[in-house]
Symmetry: C2
Subunit: 250 residues, 2 copies
């Protein structure tokens, strides 16, 4: 196992940070490395806004569902899908609008995700801890207002970056067979893999550093998925929010 | 600059591959490393299908717009957003369906992208070259048929992995100022950054290994964006395709 693979395998979410700054020089190194990520036909349809201001981070922590780590981290990076930039480039040549559809939304969202993951790896290689904050989509309009995002830009997720003040265990993943298929997708054995993972996760929660979580049955992965997704539509405002910001999912 | 950051910065798309296999052992190492990527609340809502069969790769090359590298690469990984797996987990507890919306589509798509980018980094750390193939969305139904994907699974993009048979220059990115914002999004200077990048890209195409591309004006980034996005809706079938596969973008 080489150094890079070892680093990637060691990833875990960090939710407690030391009161230590991330120097601007490191942040720029992280972002230039993010820029080296693949991008669809070089469109680079994303932006990142670094929030250091404590009061603004406090507001982000609150709108993300009181996620204290956002207030605690020295730097909160908000990754945005950005078609405004593409529109600006196009308008250097013609006074026209982009024709929106799901594909364009996908291009920008995926570009943002690939760049953010490069940033995560770069930050961790420098010794920082990270955690993605999808919770900013709880109130994407408030996030948009705080960052003064123009139309055609939406906040996909946040990323805390800072010096870890905790050393949590690595959370086990599904057995490889539940993720990896050869030649064709096979559902054969999926139920068994899920049940095996349920046991793994129960054991993980029972023995992890920092204490357990709920009763044995409550810590099964499949039960967590059931509790989370059964009949509930989450963040049901996203379609209308995106529409208001100029993204058409048609 | 540490070893990992150096590796990430060296990324470039590889479109010519040697006739050398990627051993299954390496492929599994790459995929286990992909699994270590962050995932929204541990839902792991993605799958990857490895296509080695030459005839099937030839079909993928064709449907992606005659992208020869897909036929040439020893392994073509198709990354899929996978809610079927979540549905299977939920149904261990209740005979019910997932309530679809844009948010659920986003969760699965972002999960697939983060895992794929980890796989890309892992593959490159092992000396392989890679290139993402968004072109499989040219005909996502044919891709779905070739992989026998069940409902609630869609192919987001492909990824070629193989031993490089070329050594292309690294393609320059937009100036950091066009991507990186502090505290709030600022459009100040964006036009100048785009014009500066237009010059950088013209120079890159004029001097890169393997020869130039078009006239000077044709190689400007903003002009490429204009040609690509002016009034054209690309892959306009995606909304209906996703709907047929069970994803509701509402």
């Amino acid at each position: 196992m080489n150094e890079t693979i070892e680093l990637l395998r060691k990833h875990r979410s960090i939710r407690r940070y030391k009161d230590t700054d991330v120097p601007e020089e490191h942040l720029r190194e992280i972002i230039v490395t993010a820029q080296a990520a693949p991008t669809s036909s070089n469109i680079q349809a994303y932006s990142v806004v670094a929030v250091r201001d404590p009061e603004k981070r406090r507001k982000f922590a609150e709108l993300a569902g009181n996620q204290q780590q956002v207030a605690e981290t020295p730097v909160f990076l908000v990754w945005c899908a950005d078609l405004n930039k593409i529109r600006s480039a196009v308008r250097l040549h013609e006074d026209t609008e982009l024709s929106q559809n799901v594909e364009l939304f996908l291009l920008a969202t995926i570009d943002a995700a690939l760049a953010a993951q490069n940033a995560t790896v770069a930050a961790e290689s420098l010794g920082y801890g990270t955690v993605y904050i999808g919770g900013i989509r709880n109130n994407p309009q408030a996030a948009t207002d705080l960052l003064e995002l123009p139309p055609l830009v939406y906040p996909v997720f946040g990323l805390c970056v800072g010096v870890p003040a905790q050393d949590p265990d690595i959370r086990p993943r599904l057995p490889i067979g539940a993720v990896y298929h050869r030649e064709t997708y096979s559902e054969y054995g999926l139920e068994d893999e899920i049940r095996a993972y349920d046991e793994t996760m129960s054991h993980y929660y029972a023995t992890r550093k920092g204490g357990g979580k709920g009763g044995e049955d409550e810590t099964k992965w499949s039960k967590e998925m059931w509790r989370r997704f059964d009949g509930k539509r989450q963040r049901d405002h996203m379609h209308d929010f995106l529409h208001r910001r100029g993204f058409e999912l048609k």
